[in-house]
């Protein structure tokens, strides 16, 4: 196989999952599979899982929560046992489609986007979309509705019902976890948080200084099943009906202190109720020019964050390299420690600590934190690049400069640095390309850049193919010219080095004996 064919093969492998169809099981086979295996595998995420599914504080490694009890009850009705499968919350539906587990049950709200993608069983919980603000703002927010949030910064989870409600009205700030929206609200990074009442009760109401101003609408938690397995949905619907009818569901919810009047409807859930819950979701919008404009905005954020981060990383890295090579013992140790710590810990963790961890003492904006976090991380790598660049300058040049009466500082500025920077440029360019891609990590601190925009859109239009390829094309358009530039600079430098090597420098002649 030629190299080109092999490359094409690899490329298609990379792109294949984007357009991959979900595994199709013949009708009726899903339930058979579950029964044959004797186990109902259900997907969820224990992170921020209280009271849904979480590690028993008294007995680590043992899961508790109302969904754990409900899963056991449903499995028992089906004549099997239940087994929990841990999965990142935001990827539960894609993992269901891939067949990682049989069902999803993890506070999955019935939303338009999901209704078009999975089969929902009857609900097992009726929640309220609860709006919380800082106490001092509460008097201004009597009888709130979605329209009253226009132009306000409102925090919520990505792909949630609240996210759909706020679209086109509020300036939505997207979080990955349930704790962070409320801490950011408390610190004034947002104006309000709209989330399910269970989350609001556990994570928001517990914070002094925050207040509930109202519930904007009801919503439902239901179990998601693959569209190709309607018989699994039917079996679970029947099981849930029996569990609710005999009062077992009420007992489970009471056990987690989340039973209320809204849940009364669950026992007598009808087909009409189900139809009303699912509604008539509008067909998904086609991926089109409007989305491309959003992507271009995302790419602009990616470029902005990367350029500004590099603008911090380059001078800071140069400073660190200089201190490491010419500083006093204490300064040298500090600079080495900086480089090793930043290179030895995940940049994701550094971003978290900078944005959320430091927030009580240093309240950075999300974009600022992204730029500073990536800049400080990349400075550690640039320091090493410059150190290598300085070491590439022959020692004789530094000595010649000193012998000419230059101070070390002048010699560095006039002789070593100009050459070190030239040596470093190709590597700095390559690092910038890496930074362009690493910048997608800043979505964990609520910055919507190109990759985040892609995942939001992909769920919106219910396909990953168009958004995925567009996103890849934009990254490629940004990094490819830089890659060419880096290679060209490398070649130029190499050519100069070869010329230097070609200068005649015969080996030392044998020592001539001298008289004594």
């Amino acid at each position: 196989m030629s190299a080109a064919a092999a490359l094409a093969c690899l490329l298609s492998l990379l792109l294949a999952p984007v357009g991959c169809s979900r595994p199709e099981t013949p009708a009726g086979k899903g339930l058979e599979r579950i029964r044959a295996a004797g186990v109902l595998r259900w997907g969820g995420d224990t992170q921020g899982g209280e009271p849904y599914v979480y590690d028993d504080p008294a007995k680590p490694g043992h899961l508790v929560g109302f969904e754990v009890e409900l899963a056991a009850a449903i499995a028992r009705e089906l004549g099997v046992r239940s087994e929990f499968v841990q999965n990142d919350w935001s990827n539960l539906v894609p993992s269901l489609e891939r067949g990682t587990f049989d069902i999803v049950m993890n506070g999955l709200e019935v939303t338009d986007a999901r209704t078009g993608r999975v089969l929902f069983t009857r609900p097992y919980y009726v929640f309220a979309e609860r709006l919380m603000v800082r106490s001092e703002d509460a008097p201004k927010m009597r009888s709130p509705d979605v329209a009253s949030l226009k132009g306000k910064r409102v925090g919520t989870l990505s792909n949630s019902l609240a996210f759909e409600m706020l679209r086109g009205t509020a300036d939505t700030v997207i979080y990955e976890g349930v704790e962070e929206p409320y801490t950011d609200l408390l610190r004034g990074r947002t104006d309000a948080v709209l989330l399910d009442d269970i989350i609001a009760t556990r994570y928001g109401v517990t914070k002094a200084g925050l207040e509930v101003v109202g519930d904007l609408r009801d919503g439902y938690y239901a179990i998601a099943v693959r569209p190709s397995e309607p018989e699994v949905k039917a079996a679970i619907d029947e099981a849930l009906g029996r569990i609710a009818a005999r009062g077992e569901l009420r007992k489970i919810l009471e056990g987690s202190h989340i039973w209320n009047a809204r849940q009364e409807r669950l026992a007598s859930w009808s087909a009409a109720d189900q139809a009303e819950m699912l509604g008539q979701p509008p067909p998904p919008p086609a991926f089109g020019p409007a989305h491309v404009v959003l992507f271009l905005k995302g790419a602009a954020i990616t470029l902005l964050v990367s350029v500004l981060a590099m603008a911090i990383a380059v001078p800071l890295g140069l400073f660190l390299a200089l201190v490491r090579m010419y500083g006093g013992p204490a300064a040298r140790f500090a600079a080495s420690a900086y480089v090793e710590v930043y290179r030895g810990t995940p940049v994701l963790l550094q971003l978290y600590l900078l944005y959320y961890g430091l927030a009580p003492v240093l309240k950075l904006g999300a974009l600022t934190a992204a730029v500073v976090g990536l800049g400080m991380n990349y400075a550690a790598y640039e320091a090493e690049v410059y150190r290598a660049g300085m070491q590439a300058v022959p020692k004789a040049q530094m000595e010649a400069a000193l012998a000419l009466g230059m101070t070390t500082r002048l010699a560095l500025r006039r002789v070593v640095l100009p050459q070190a920077v030239r040596h470093a440029i190709p590597n700095v360019t390559n690092d910038f390309i890496a930074l362009l891609k690493d910048s997608s990590l800043v979505s964990v601190i609520t910055v919507v850049e190109l990759t985040k925009q892609m995942t939001i859109t992909a769920i919106d239009v219910r396909t990953w193919l168009g958004p995925g390829l567009t996103c890849a094309a934009l990254y490629f358009a940004m990094s490819y010219p830089l890659g060419i530039l880096a290679r060209r600079l490398e070649r130029k430098l190499e050519g100069e080095r070869n010329e230097e090597d070609a200068a005649p420098e015969p080996p030392m002649p044998p020592t001539v004996g001298v008289g004594t």
Binding site: Q397, A400, A403, G405, P506, V514
Partner: protein, 223 residues
């Protein structure tokens, strides 16, 4: 001009220079010869503080070598290295102008005038704009000599100035050294090849294992 008294230098427990005492006269050319590893380069590098020493003293003109006098001594003595040490990112002319401009703070035109004259003196007027990588080893060493002279030092230290060169290039450099000697430039030349200094040196010191093994007129000492 340069007086060295009881100079001792140890390196990782090994004695590289062992109580060396020697004097280099103003206006004369002195040669330090010896096999590689005898300590002759170290001795030279101690004079302008590129190397530290453990015991003894060195006096250059009126100044005793030490941290406080280092900068002034380096202005008084120029140095030429075996590996030239030309600044790779600068042309020949810029190499020669660099220190007068940024250390002596000469005007650009004055520095340039001086550099042009010195490059002519070493026979490289036609190579002014060439970068070090475009020059042969002999040409690079001649630029390095011009660069050291541009600071108008009272003495010139040369550390194996011809060791990296083939015979033809070596002759170019020796020619330059001869003309400098005729003008009465104070020079201390370290070499392992007596042939290089035989026609130039007024005085020769032979080092062996860090000690002065012989000293005197070149004709007698360098057999």
């Amino acid at each position: 001009m340069i007086a060295i008294e009881n100079l001792t230098k140890r390196f990782e427990g090994r004695t590289v220079l062992d109580r060396v005492s020697v004097k280099f006269q103003r206006g004369k050319v002195s040669a330090i010869v010896g096999a590689s590893g005898c300590g002759k380069s170290t001795l030279l590098r101690c004079i302008n503080g590129l190397e530290r020493f453990d015991e003894g003293r060195i006096v250059v003109g009126e100044l005793e070598v030490g941290p406080a006098t280092l900068q002034r001594i380096r202005l008084d003595v120029g140095m030429v290295f075996q590996q030239y040490g030309l600044f790779s990112h600068m042309s020949a002319l810029a190499n020669v102008m660099e220190a007068p401009l940024h250390v002596r703070h000469l005007s650009k035109s004055a520095a340039r005038e001086r550099a042009v004259a010195l490059l002519e003196k070493v026979g490289l007027s036609h190579r002014r704009e060439a970068f070090p990588r475009e020059l042969s080893g002999g040409e690079q060493q001649r630029v390095a000599i011009a660069r050291a002279l541009a600071m108008e030092p009272k003495a010139l230290l040369l550390d194996e100035p011809t060791a990296a060169l083939d015979p033809e290039r070596k002759a170019e450099v020796v020619k330059v050294l001869e003309s400098l000697a005729k003008e009465g430039t104070t020079m201390v030349i370290v070499t392992h090849e007596p042939s290089v200094v035989r026609g130039i040196a007024d005085h020769a010191v032979v080092l062996k294992s860090g000690r002065v093994a012989a000293e005197g007129a070149p004709a007698e000492v360098l057999r």
